[in-house]
């Protein structure tokens, strides 16, 4: 603390100069619109009439208070909804109305931003779900599932923004519950972590099930046939009535025929082939017994593929079988391409983590849409061709689990808290020391007050008196530490009103939660303790080291997914009949492609311009098949040169971004265009207004997406934004809803009797500045010119994520500084991170 005392003055001076550098932003409606108001509004809403209490004549054009903004918002709302001007009054021409609405909505967005500006304050933040999960893992060596906690704020900002991270009493109780469970595992005696291995022959598990079901079905069918020729009552053959006979015959037809076929296949004597049945995808599963503690495991399977099956089916998916899931449905964890054959099977390995709350039933199956209905549709199609079951793609010999492996983390935890002391107790002094060590780690090197420790020790004592063993009695006090504010909040004290420089330790914590979403490691603590972290060179060295550490994946995925709004990828289920290849595994690969691309840019320190256009993609075997790129073997993502003539390279050509711009059935030029404006051009359109009349004039007609959008231009309320948005989206119309290249658009009929139609695609369009392009390639080239704007958008997002406050006008100077710095380094990926980390705001509270 001593060191800091003289610093605030310095900071204040710097801030002071900063204030002069930038004009305070203002949201002002251009004066020219007074004419518009005068012509269409003031007749009733002037200072004399004030109809409905609304006086637009005196309403300031400067939107500088919540009240003024609110009144303008109301004016915008009634014009958007078409309420005003009233029907029987003069109506404005489309063009001036469009311009007025466009300016007003833009200025309102600006006003909201100004009025909600943080003023440079960083609110203390609670660990979000990701950080909580990672922090517990770091501390205890036990992986938990934080999805049990209430969802973090979803009001449009990043999950690191402290002001939006609420705390509720239910949450407190969840924290305690999760911590108790995790500590039970972490504190268990070492012998419980002895690895075990168990193998299950697939024919044993599956064939028995199939045989039983088949026998039952056959019996029903046989009795039915006997009854038919007997002339007796159905009850004598075990049927309640005649309808039941028919029903059982139908069941045999539906399921029995397939099982019969299954049992004749020689492959099933030594293993099992995977099929789609009426009861969902056939799944081979294995259950971890209670004696296997939560931890890391390896699931192995010996599998071969049939060359006759299409490529996308020759993948094995693994997942947990959740309670309540329908047959064949898995919570997918991973997938592997199967290159082995039935004659020469291969062994595939899946490392998985079992948490204290996760399902212990693990299933594998052929890759497909994770949906029983999808399996039924596969079966139905086979039957349409008079085939009992669709030809198989995969065969499995056996399935096994082994683990727990890598228990060192757990052992390390026990070593850390027990130190060199004997693990068994223990007087109170010993227990106190143990608890103190633990809370120091949990509180990120902060010491606890003696009275807090006293209370923790007495919690321990109470449990002992209640009969708990030494280890069990420790669970409660340690769980309480993990539900305490010093653990849950990243504390940066700020006595007085002035901003101050962080100390080394605080900076270390901020840095590691920024890049790792978890606490500092030993080295970072050491550097901070020695007081070296704040020197620019050391800070840079540490930042580089941390970016190169696998833990930086949290930043690459956590930041990127929120920056690019990738949650949209989960908004829609994809139609399994139209996009059979775009299943959960493909979605996961598509998502990971984006993160791995960002990772590649950071690792190789390439320009972020590569996200706009590049000659490489970062993909794995699944995506290579999906994109039609040859020679990519293996599950891991790697940089691959884009073959000539393929439209990939840059975010616009990724399956994830394209799929996000669809509703799972049709591509959406609007969503795609708006995303490009928001994320690539840094020119976000105002949010879709409420109460705008929906255009349904063309909705019932079978028109290409492009022609449907034309209706947007007919109403000023829509045209004000859509004239910019839609024409960008047209340039991506050569990609279907799941991001595959197409030259014809499928137009689905709403009527059973009308066939779907196919329309040629017109991919020409324009950017908001009216530059036109002829097709996707030209669009991509033009977007690539916007590198500077793209950099600004990235910078703003990075500031918000890294500082944990909504990007506001206060941060304008900082953004400017970062952009100047990064531009001089050709917008290399790392330069953004370094520029932010080295900036003053990052180092101050």
């Amino acid at each position: 603390m001593k060191l800091i005392r003289h610093i605030p003055l310095l900071v204040f001076l710097c801030l002071g100069t900063g204030l002069y550098a930038v004009e305070a932003p203002e949201a002002i409606l251009p004066e020219k619109h007074f004419e518009f108001l005068n012509a269409y509004c003031l007749k009733c809403h002037d200072s004399v009439e004030e109809e409905g209490g609304v006086n637009l004549e005196d309403l300031s054009f400067n939107l500088d208070s919540i009240e003024t903004a609110e009144l303008w918002q109301k004016a915008l709302n009634v014009m958007n909804s078409g309420e005003m001007p009233p029907e029987d009054e003069d109506q404005p021409e489309a063009e001036p109305k469009t311009d007025f609405l466009a300016d007003l909505s833009e200025q309102l967005v600006l006003a909201r931003k100004i009025l909600s500006d943080s003023g440079g304050v960083i609110a203390m933040r609670r660990l979000n779900r990701r950080e909580y999960e990672n922090t517990i893992e770091d501390l205890l060596g036990v992986t938990i599932n934080a999805a049990e906690l209430p969802k973090d704020a979803s009001t449009g900002s990043f999950d690191t923004v402290g002001a939006s991270l609420f705390f509720s009493s239910d949450q407190f109780e969840q924290y305690l519950k999760i911590a108790r469970r995790a500590l039970t595992v972490a504190l268990a005696a070492p012998e419980t972590a002895e690895p075990q291995r168990y193998r299950q022959q697939s024919e044993d598990a599956i064939n028995k099930m199939v045989q039983n079901r088949y026998a039952k079905l056959l019996d029903g069918k046989t009795r039915g046939e006997q009854w038919k020729v007997s002339g007796k009552s159905p009850t004598e053959f075990g049927f309640i009535d005649e309808a039941r006979v028919k029903f059982e015959a139908g069941l045999f037809e539906r399921d029995g025929v397939g099982y019969e076929h299954y049992l004749t296949l020689p492959e099933n004597n030594t293993g099992a082939v995977f099929f789609a049945t009426w009861n969902g995808a056939m799944t081979d599963s294995i259950t971890l017994p209670k004696s296997a503690p939560p931890g890391e495991y390896i699931i192995r399977a010996r599998v071969g593929g049939f060359e006759s099956a299409p490529l996308h089916r020759r993948f094995l998916e693994i997942g947990t079988v959740e309670s309540g899931a329908r047959p064949g449905e898995l919570a997918i964890l991973d997938y592997r391409k199967i290159s082995g054959s039935y004659d020469q099977p291969q062994i595939v390995e899946f490392p998985i983590t079992v948490t204290p709350s996760s399902s212990r039933k693990i299933g594998v199956r052929e890759r497909q849409h994770n949906n029983r209905d999808a399996a039924r549709s596969i079966l139905r199609k086979a039957r349409d061709r008079d085939v009992p079951l669709e030809d198989p793609a995969l065969w499995i010999d056996w399935l096994e689990w082994e683990g727990p492996i890598n228990v060192q983390k757990r052992t390390a935890f026990q070593n850390r808290i027990f130190g060199n002391d004997p693990v068994e107790p223990g007087n109170d002094k010993y227990v106190r020391k143990t608890i103190q060590r633990f809370s120091r780690q949990a509180f990120r090197a902060q010491e606890s007050s003696p009275s807090f420790l006293d209370k923790l020790v007495s919690l321990y004592r109470d449990r002992r008196e209640a009969g708990d063993s030494f280890r069990d009695a420790l669970i409660e006090p340690l769980a309480v530490v993990l539900a305490s504010p010093a653990f849950l909040y990243l504390k940066e004290p700020q006595p007085g009103d002035q901003q101050r420089e962080l100390n080394d330790l605080e900076l270390a914590v901020r840095l590691s939660y920024f890049l790792w979403s978890r606490p500092p490691d030993a080295e970072l603590y050491k550097v901070a303790r020695n007081g070296h972290l704040k020197t620019p060179a050391e800070l840079k060295r540490q930042t580089d080291r941390m970016l190169e550490d696998p833990k930086a994946w949290e930043f690459m995925s956590g930041f990127t997914s929120q920056w690019l709004h990738m949650d949209r990828l989960d908004f829609f289920q994809f139609n399994y009949e139209w996009y059979p290849e775009f299943d959960d595994s493909a979605k996961s690969a598509a998502r990971n492609e984006i993160y791995h691309t960002v990772r590649t840019l950071l690792n190789e320190n390439l320009s972020i311009g590569n996200l706009l256009k590049s000659d490489f993609v970062v993909i794995n075997d699944l995506l290579a098949d999906y994109y039609g790129i040859e020679g990519v073997d293996g599950h891991q993502f790697r940089k691959v040169k884009v073959p000539k003539g393929l439209p990939r390279g840059g975010l616009l050509g990724t399956a994830a971004v394209l799929a996000m711009g669809s509703d799972g059935e049709r591509s959406s030029p609007v969503e795609r265009g708006a995303w490009v404006m928001r994320k690539l051009l840094h020119n976000p359109p105002p949010p879709a207004p409420a109460n705008v009349p929906q255009l349904s004039r063309l909705a019932d007609e079978m028109l290409p997406a492009r022609e449907l959008q034309v209706a947007h231009m007919e109403e000023p309320q829509c045209a004000q934004c859509h004239r910019n948005i839609d024409p960008i989206g047209y340039g991506l119309e050569n990609f279907d809803a799941a991001g595959k290249w197409r030259s014809l658009e499928r137009i689905v009929s709403n009527h059973k009797k009308v066939e779907d139609a196919w329309a040629p695609i017109d991919p020409s369009g324009s950017l908001p500045n009216k530059t036109t392009f002829r097709d996707y390639y030209e669009l991509r080239d033009q977007v690539a010119e916007y590198e500077g704007d793209f950099a600004r958008g990235l910078t703003e997002a990075l500031i918000e994520y890294g500082l944990g406050r909504p990007y506001g006008f206060t941060d304008y100077d900082l953004a400017e500084e970062i952009i100047q710095q990064t531009e001089s380094e050709n917008f290399t990926a790392r330069s953004f991170v370094h520029a932010l980390v080295q900036s003053k705001p990052f180092k101050q509270k």
Binding site: I66, A69, E70, Q73, S81, S116, V121, A123, M124, R125, R126, P150, A153, S154, T155, G156, A163, S164, F167, S168, S169, D170, F172, L176, S323, S448, S449, F452, K455, L456, L459, D462, R463, E476, P477, V480, A483, S484, P485, A486, L488, Y489, E492, P493, Q494, F571, F572, Q573, D663, A688, P689, A690, N691, V692, Q694, S696, A699, N750, P806, K845
Partner: protein
């Protein structure tokens, strides 16, 4: 404690015997059959005035405008229920449909529940991009919730955003405008309301003591955190303090109720198993709600209903969001089917309320104020919030279709009216500017 005083009243065997004998729907014979004296937390005695209840149902995505709202020109009792509401025909005299209610600040077309019961302006707080205020159910709970085991109950569903509810953890927001978590599955709701712990009383008391020590310990930590924090950080930490205080209040209540077993409903509910989704889920939640009120476990409930899984359980393959943007074709038919099925369930709930007798011979329906609606009108319109109220609890004169003269009548006027009608002291709620007199005359 007074544990020993009452616990002999509920020996296990007797309770089981009681359960077995009570499979039919009968008036609460619970306390009487044991000859118990009335004590302060028990269900009221026969003949006593039954308590007032308030229930708020929110259904997220808006309705099919064309077939849900009655004709604006047919107000009063002479109106026809349109197709989407026809399932309510048998209750037509007992419901009120109100048009032209709106939350003036609502601007988010996908947030059907965030401000539905609060009427707040998300931009009201300078320097913040999100603000909310207390929801009407929580105002009600402060008065109605004093005597019951649960001050209020929040029910919800998984993936609320996909169902058009917007941010929040349930429909309810506390005094500080912070979200209150909900019970999102019938299983969770059932266990909270009806499952007793098998732990012996002394052990439960010891557990309560331990919980108190835990709170005491974290507060000790929070106090040391307190030093040197800025104003904003202090406000954040205050959320923590506030939560701990809430738990303390809950624990005191829990302690009072510790020796009182959870009352089982006379119409026995089966323990829900596994994942029940959509239509069946809503139905089960309604059963649970009625049971909870019948045994007077709580008097205030909010329920944020599923839409996404609801339509899927009806066979639809599109998302709730897709449905809400209906145009002619399959989206429209899904939207219409959703309205009809939701109405069917709502009518079922009213049936149950009417069939559930109170100790004085009246029905649960007579003593409840129930509202049903969303902040979203239809598609992305937020103007005329779909609103139906029912039940005798607030003294509303039912059987009418009311169209407010002012097309922007604050929805909060309705909430205020229901509060006052239910005997709760309140001068305003949210952006209310008065009560809706027409409801009561």
């Amino acid at each position: 404690m007074n544990g020993s005083k009452f616990s002999p009243l509920f020996p296990k065997q007797t309770r089981r015997a009681f359960l077995r004998s009570s499979s039919a729907l009968i008036a609460l014979p619970f306390m009487e059959s044991f000859g118990a004296k009335r004590f302060e937390y028990a269900a009221p005695l026969k003949g006593a005035t039954p308590p007032t209840r308030m229930v708020f149902l929110g259904f997220g995505w808006g309705v099919t405008k064309e077939s849900w709202y009655p004709d604006l020109n047919t107000t009063g009792s002479h109106y026809e229920l349109p197709r989407g509401l026809r399932g309510l025909q048998r209750h037509k005299d007992d419901i009120t449909i109100i048009q032209n209610l709106t939350n003036q600040f609502s601007n988010e077309a996908h947030w059907g529940s965030t401000f539905y019961l609060t009427g707040a302006n998300r931009y009201a707080e300078p320097g913040q991009s999100f603000y909310n205020s207390i929801s009407v159910d929580q105002v009600a709970a402060e008065t109605l919730g004093k005597e019951t085991r649960f001050t209020s109950i929040q029910l919800g569903c998984d993936n609320a955003e996909g169902s058009g509810h917007g941010p929040g953890l349930s429909m309810s927001w506390n005094r500080q405008g912070k979200p209150i978590a909900g019970l999102d599955t019938p299983v969770a709701a059932y266990h909270r309301l009806f499952s007793d712990s098998n732990t012996p009383l002394e052990e439960q008391q010891a557990m309560l003591r331990q919980k108190r020590s835990v709170l005491d310990t974290v507060l000790e930590n929070a106090k040391t955190m307190n030093h040197g924090l800025s104003k904003i950080d202090n406000d954040k930490l205050d959320e923590y303090f506030q939560s701990i205080r809430e738990i303390e209040v809950r624990l005191s209540k829990e302690e009072k109720w510790l020796d009182v077993p959870k009352v089982q409903p006379t119409d026995p509910l089966e323990e829900p198993q596994g994942d029940i989704e959509g239509f069946e889920e809503v139905k089960l939640m309604y059963d649970i709600m009625v049971a909870a009120m019948q045994v007077d476990a709580t008097r205030v409930i909010s329920y944020r209903q599923p839409v996404d899984t609801f339509i899927r359980s009806l066979g639809a393959t599109i998302t709730g969001h897709n449905m809400s943007h209906y145009t002619n074709g399959s989206r429209l038919s899904v939207s219409e089917m959703r309205d009809e099925k939701q109405t069917q369930l709502f009518a079922y709930l009213i049936d149950k309320l009417k069939a559930t007798q109170e100790s004085d011979g009246s029905s649960l329906f007579d003593n409840i104020s129930l509202s049903y609606g969303s902040n979203i009108e239809s598609i992305h319109y937020l103007k005329n919030c779909p609103t139906i109220i029912t039940g005798g609890g607030a003294g509303v004169k039912h059987g009418r279709h009311l169209v407010m003269e002012d097309p922007k009548t604050p929805l909060c006027n309705l909430w205020l009216s229901l509060l006052q009608g239910s005997g709760i002291q309140a001068d305003s709620h949210g952006d209310s500017n008065g009560v809706i007199e027409e409801l009561f005359v």
